[in-house]
Subunit: 507 residues, 2 copies
């Protein structure tokens, strides 16, 4: 990336110079219409560390290694993102067989494909215009897919009814979350919409809020209690925020990212009571609902708890829950499949939501097909059932093992302390950074300095805690637990070694 | 959709009533947090007729027909949207074979699949993390796909160089257009960014501008000159707009939607000169570049013309061009594949663009794979070449025939006049609506009234011109030319018959 050596952008004489500088052929060159000074400031102000400068440097290092440059490591391990297949996880055979048939329906006649993959693909194709995944779907998503999702939710929630009309298929969960946030934002100055988000948090939330010029209202997760949500902290955050904005929604990520906590049923009930009392719209990011490993932990959907609390809550509380095909055991990030279920949403708002989605026409149909397969997988007695269960179990058991290994190894390192990885795909250990390192880092955040060193010295790419937010004076990093177990072991040992050296050097 | 019978939303006592109304169990029900009155007003104000009330009514009529209700027609013909596969167009075999292999790489071992489909799929998979379409790609898109797109552009533009670093893969073209518009918008009041768009226009533009609170600056296409762009009209629109906003970008859609014109090389050169002189960022929506049928018409990319105009232009003019896999001969709308090429974009802005895309992680990988296949299709000598050419030619020839048939039939109807369908997939005929009909329509726009009647009486779903914008006092509708030729013939005869009856009734 070329950068102008002149960084002081506010001096207007420089702008004038920029405008008048001559091009090669001696004519006066036109100044650019769109520059960093004249672009949308909300876009410029948004931050997104998960794909920020450390990740860019990691890609550079990979290129340098490929070109034969000597480094203190043989390979860059990208532990910065929850990208299961990139880490070597194999796709679930059934899903890919059915998707291949949907892509090339001639395969319906191929005797090597199992009948259940064929029947699922056939049903999906029947629901597509012209029986082709190449047609646009309805903006809300294919009808039969939304029906299958609703039935899945009913099974998951022990029979609590789910209406396909409340299901909206999305381009990954992010798209749904961004769309909902966009609907919620209004007002100016002290009446501007505030959105409560956890700290630490997945930075798509803060980046979107900056883009929407909404007010980010931080509530801190309790690191001492395994990153759980604390109602008194919610109350503190809300009361303070009411002085400068209009807080209208509360986002909960369960299981947590980057913090991997799994909230208890009691906690969820308390959050619902709080949101009801304080008139907050509830946004439950539940994309890691299949990723639960912690001892005694269980996933409780916000919707089930809401319905168990009786009609006072279930008839009135506005809730939207997000899910995705990118996480869980399938890890199909590239297909950008997802859905959201809206509960008690005002009918006129629902119509506006549909309109908003319709401007983008529809979410990708292969992603919608995958949503259908994931939420309507092989059933007992069907030909793919045994293999499906085998593959799914292997992936989830390995994840559980990796979660435990990560916690265990990191906690053997003096200066690193790691909460149990109860769920999701990440650990978020707290690190002690020596005073001297803080002096040396020269304007970088200390944890950015730490992670950049880890990348340069050990070839490990993790994301500094400051990219997710953390309590002042505390430092963390986020690392995925996704590499295969032998590689994860190497990775953890390298982290250990790096941390020890780093501490020694700056002590 | 349930609607409250009370429509006067501004009376606060009603809001109070709403808040205090009791629920079934006698308790005080909570008012909703998110209502039509408290949602994001920019979302509410956006309009998108292509999927609006007429299309909703068409879906309803289809359901009613299926339930056995009697109608004056046997089927609803949805001629409202450019959705080729939904109209029965078959996918290109080669693309779907390669996509099936990408989905289920076991098919690399299947001897019934042609070698070129295998080699393309293999190359795509090699560029995916973990060799799986289930991985996230880089936010800008898969490297090798961007390389193939750049090479395609070079071939198309007679050797004008294209840099893969300037290619950004997008979720359909809309996503690219929305992203670019988002980058461009800044300022407040009279310095707010204005964006020049054609009238009539594809309403994604206006809906996005409303969402972004940007100022829509209309320039009218010249219906008398086959909907071409007129420089004096651009100048008029710009000069007027400068009194109330800061016009920064000019959007050109070539071939046009809904107006189907193909701009001449001279016109494009004039537009570039105009944009250069007036310091406007150029946005060229060229998604219909393969859809050119008009006698003597040829597609000229803005980029080629820019480079032919010499370094004074090619070294400085900021241009972005959009393309898609949804149109052309492939019509793969559901995959949401697309790209944009940015020319002379400021490097810092390019970095911000990448960051903005990265918050959404990446565009769908199956769509990216399709982009690769479309822009790197079978070559002479490869096993799929002959069949590919045969399929492509058949589709494009049929479209040409349909374009001519449409123009010809519609122009036989007194009160309908239709410009030649030079390109794209639509006709946009002008219709005469009798005075009496205008009295009867009771608050609806006359062309909405006309199209709704056409739907109810003839079962034909088209979009009223007011959804695209039109000169005051003129009325049009947009109809796709995509149905198979025999069905199109029926459709056109029904339109003819309907128009005659309608004119008779209201004369």
């Amino acid at each position: 990336m070329l950068k102008s050596p002149i960084t002081c952008r506010s001096i207007s004489i420089l702008a004038l110079f920029k405008f008048k500088k001559t091009s090669e052929n001696g004519r006066v060159a036109r100044a650019k219409v769109l520059t960093i000074d004249t672009m949308n400031p909300t876009v410029k102000n948004a931050k997104y560390a998960v794909r920020g400068p450390i990740v860019a440097r990691a890609a550079e290092l990979e290129r340098e290694l490929n070109e034969g440059m000597k480094k203190p490591f043989d390979e860059v391990i990208k532990a910065n993102i929850g990208d299961a297949h990139a880490m070597g996880q194999q796709p679930i055979t059934f899903f890919r067989q059915a998707l291949a048939i949907c892509s090339y329906p001639e395969l319906l006649n191929d005797s090597t494909f199992p009948e259940d993959a064929k029947s699922r693909a056939y049903r999906i194709l029947q629901s597509c215009g012209g029986n082709s995944m190449g047609s646009y779907s309805a903006s809300q998503g294919i009808d039969s897919v939304r029906q299958d999702v609703a039935r899945y939710i009913e099974r998951r929630d022990g029979g609590v009814p789910s209406d396909p009309d409340n299901i909206f298929l999305t381009t990954g969960a992010c798209d749904g979350i961004m769309t909902m946030l966009k609907l919620l934002v209004c007002g100016e100055g002290p009446t501007r919409t505030g959105i409560m988000i956890p700290i630490p948090h997945y930075p798509m939330y803060s980046a979107t809020l900056v883009e929407l010029a909404a007010v980010q209202v931080n509530y801190y997760l309790n690191e001492e209690k395994c990153w759980s949500v604390d109602i008194s902290e919610l109350k503190r955050a809300l009361d303070e925020a009411r002085h400068y904005c209009n807080p209208r929604a509360l986002c909960i990520v369960n299981p947590g990212n980057p913090t991997s906590q799994v909230e208890t049923r009691q906690c969820i009930e308390d959050v619902i009571r709080f949101a009801a009392k304080e008139r907050l719209f509830l946004m439950a990011d539940e994309v890691y609902q299949d990723n639960v490993y912690g001892h005694g932990c269980r996933f409780h959907s916000f919707k089930t708890v809401l319905f168990e609390m009786g009609p006072e809550y279930s008839n009135t509380m506005e809730l939207v829950s997000f899910h995705s095909t990118s996480k869980g055991y399938m890890g199909e990030c590239g297909f950008r499949g997802g859905y959201m279920e809206v509960i008690n949403m005002d009918d006129e708002v629902k119509a506006e939501l549909t309109k908003l989605l319709s401007v983008r026409l529809c979410s990708p149909v292969p992603g919608q097909a995958l949503v259908d397969l994931v939420f309507n997988p092989p059933q007992p007695g069907e030909p793919s059932y045994d293999n499906f269960i085998k593959e799914r179990t292997a992936i989830l058991s390995a994840l559980e093992e990796k979660a435990k290994l990560t916690e265990q190894v990191l906690n053997t390192v003096p200066g690193i302390s790691c909460n149990p990885v109860q769920g999701a795909m990440f650990c978020f250990p707290r690190i002690t950074i020596p005073e001297k390192a803080m002096i040396e880092e020269q304007g970088q955040q200390p944890d950015v300095f730490y992670c950049m060193k880890m990348l340069e010295e050990a070839g490990i790419c993790v994301i500094p805690g400051s990219g997710f937010g953390q309590k002042e004076g505390t430092y963390h990093f986020r690392m995925t637990i996704l590499p295969p177990i032998d590689k994860l072991q190497i990775l953890l040992n390298k982290v250990k070694e790096f941390h020890q050296k780093f501490t020694q050097k700056y002590s």
